[in-house]
């Protein structure tokens, strides 16, 4: 039977191999990676339940009413986003599988249709965000372009308290290893600069009192981050985990 799921096949490819005059080059040692789930991790559920926004997760009975109305599918075509499935993975403890969605899980736009319709009173939107927080806090999530853009955006904003679009675009694109089509950008940029619509570099907008306010905001963000890591660390240390 042919193997349809190519991503599960690993191959040792031998380009030129001749044994006793016979050409045996080609694919060797092909085998399927195991699809068997070998462990369950209760830490995800324990942590999500311990959070004030996450405690309704244990009400979920997997009916799928939330995913049925989820606008990420219908309006944004994001077929990987399935709140019912995220909750299931977290409930049962398929941590490795869940981690595949650690970037997707943040795409929720909080329309709250799921919360409105849930027959069991699960605060789906909050629970899904809490699962995302767990994944983020426990790390190991592969960083996506969206994550990098978020970081560039936040750093840009924290500098002056107002966005410098030109700088954000420049920094982000450079970070991604892309170059901009200089001539076109220059023409558009100059027009915008002249009209005063775009202010960057020394001309950039400033926010009054940002030095003090920005410091508070920075401290708050750092504290949030520290708390999140501590909390996740505590869960990890408290045992639970794969058993």
């Amino acid at each position: 039977m042919p193997i349809v799921e190519k991503s599960l096949v690993t191959v040792d490819r031998t380009e030129h191999l001749e044994i006793e005059g016979i050409d045996v080059s080609g694919d060797w040692n092909s085998f399927l990676r195991s699809r068997v789930q070998v462990d369950l991790d209760v830490r995800v559920l324990d942590w999500v339940r311990s959070q004030p926004q996450g405690d309704t997760i244990s009400r979920c009975w997997q009916c799928g009413t939330c995913t049925a109305g989820c606008c990420l599918h219908t309006d944004y075509g994001l077929t990987d986003f399935n709140p019912r499935y995220f909750i299931y993975l977290a409930q049962v403890g398929y941590e490795e599988e869940l981690r595949k969605y650690s970037s997707t899980i943040w795409r929720c736009v909080s329309c709250n249709k799921c919360v409105e319709r849930c027959p069991k009173g699960v605060k789906v939107e909050e629970v899904v965000h809490t699962i995302g927080s767990y994944l983020e806090a426990t790390g190991g999530a592969p960083e996506s372009p969206a994550d990098r853009f978020d970081r560039a955006y936040t750093e840009n904003l924290l500098r002056r308290g107002i966005l410098d679009e030109a700088d954000l675009f420049r920094t982000y694109e450079r970070g991604e290893g892309r170059t901009m089509p200089a001539r076109e950008m220059l023409r558009m940029g100059l027009t915008l600069l002249r009209s005063g619509r775009l202010r960057t570099g020394p001309l950039a907008h400033r926010t009054r009192g940002w030095r003090r306010f920005g410091a508070v905001l920075r401290a708050k963000l750092e504290e949030d981050e520290r708390r999140r890591r501590e909390s996740a660390g505590a869960v990890a240390r408290a045992g639970g985990g794969p058993r």
Binding site: W61, Q62, C63, G64, T65, C66, T67, A68, G69, C70, H73, T74, T79, N82, R84, Y85, R117, C118, P119, K120, G121
Partner: protein
């Protein structure tokens, strides 16, 4: 001996009255409606799960036992408007239209039953807005008359979906309980339709199939012999499909792990059971304790399932919770015995 009062002439009440009469006790059977048979009669139930016997074959003999029975006084279109506890038994006021009559009774059996959940309240499903969204009690009538046609255009449907747990197991409408018969009745309807019209495709959207006990056989048969199909997921909303002639059921197939928007010609809502109007009134009238769900509460649901805890008041049927007809008939017999024992004491 003063007569025994049986309130409600559904399966439980008919059964209770037939038994008290058989024991030789004078019995008054009071029914709010002008006919006997309760909800099964009111909504013209077709075949009854799980044995697929016509409802008339089940209710008919029960009704025959009380009609013309010298020990049973039938009071149709009558309600109890007052109840006063005496040293033994009760003094009740029976109201028929404008006429009132006071009667002393030795014991009371409350068999006041349930009401179907009003599907309008689950507004996402479009009941009352789209004519082809039916409540399954309406489909019962259609099957009974063998006229399964779309109310919108009178054409036969090609594909029907059943949505289970409408108004049951749902905190949004405040009904957390399971109605116990929605699965079986929906599957039975699908089987009936497939029996007569194999060209109609039948799909059941379910979360769990609760064809409990021996009823499981019906579930198996529906798949193996009648090709009824089951999709695991709860429907989130029903809208009109493009063109407006069909219905679009939006749900998640949780096994496929994807949202689905499938057009249907007809959608049937398995509306659950709620405490009946008569049950609520009887609870207030006699002071019977009610549970958080609004059903009457027996003193011990295992040891005294038909005892209300009040002297001389006994409970039977769906007044104490969602119940199938066989269970209601059995409870009617139990309550009749307990009432007779009390009245004879």
């Amino acid at each position: 001996m003063n007569p025994i009062l049986v309130l409600g002439a559904g399966p439980a009440g008919l059964s209770a009255a037939a038994e008290t009469a058989a024991l030789g006790a004078p019995t008054i059977l009071v029914e709010r409606e002008s006919y006997l048979g309760g909800n099964p009669k009111r909504w013209h139930y077709s075949l009854l799960a799980p044995d697929l016997r016509p409802s008339d074959e089940v209710l008919g003999p029960l009704i025959a036992k009380v009609e013309g029975n010298p020990n049973v006084t039938l009071r149709r279109s009558t309600t109890v408007s007052r109840a006063e506890r005496l040293e033994r038994g009760y003094r009740v006021t029976l109201t028929t239209g404008a006429a009132q009559e006071t009667q002393e009774v030795s014991a009371v059996v409350l068999a006041t039953g349930f009401d179907h959940f009003d599907s309008h309240r689950k507004f996402e499903y479009g009941y009352g807005r789209y004519p082809d969204v039916l409540d399954f009690k309406e489909l019962e009538g259609m099957i009974h008359d063998d006229k399964v046609l779309r109310p919108s255009d009178g054409k036969p449907p090609r594909r029907i979906a059943w949505i289970l747990c409408v108004g049951s197991r749902d905190l949004q409408v405040g009904n957390p309980w399971c109605c116990r018969m929605g699965c079986a009745v929906s599957i039975k309807q699908a089987v009936e339709i497939r029996q007569k019209h194999p060209e109609i495709d039948a799909y059941v959207y379910y979360m769990d199939i609760r064809t409990y006990g021996l009823w499981e056989d019906l579930y198996w048969k529906s798949m193996q012999e009648y090709g009824v199909k089951f999709i695991r997921g709860r429907i989130g909303q029903v809208t009109l499909a493009e063109g407006g002639s069909r219905l679009l059921a939006t749900g998640e197939d949780t096994i496929l792990r994807r949202p689905t928007e499938v057009p249907f010609d007809m959608i049937v809502l398995a509306s659950g059971m709620e405490p009946g109007t008569g049950t609520k009134e009887a609870a207030a009238l006699f002071g019977v304790p009610v549970g958080p769900e609004g059903f009457l509460t027996p003193t011990l649901s295992d040891l005294n399932p038909v005892d209300s805890g009040l002297p001389g008041v006994f409970l039977a049927g769906a007044a104490t919770g969602p119940k199938a007809i066989p269970d209601s008939v059995t409870e009617g017999m139990g309550a009749a015995l307990r009432a007779y024992q009390y009245a004879r004491r």
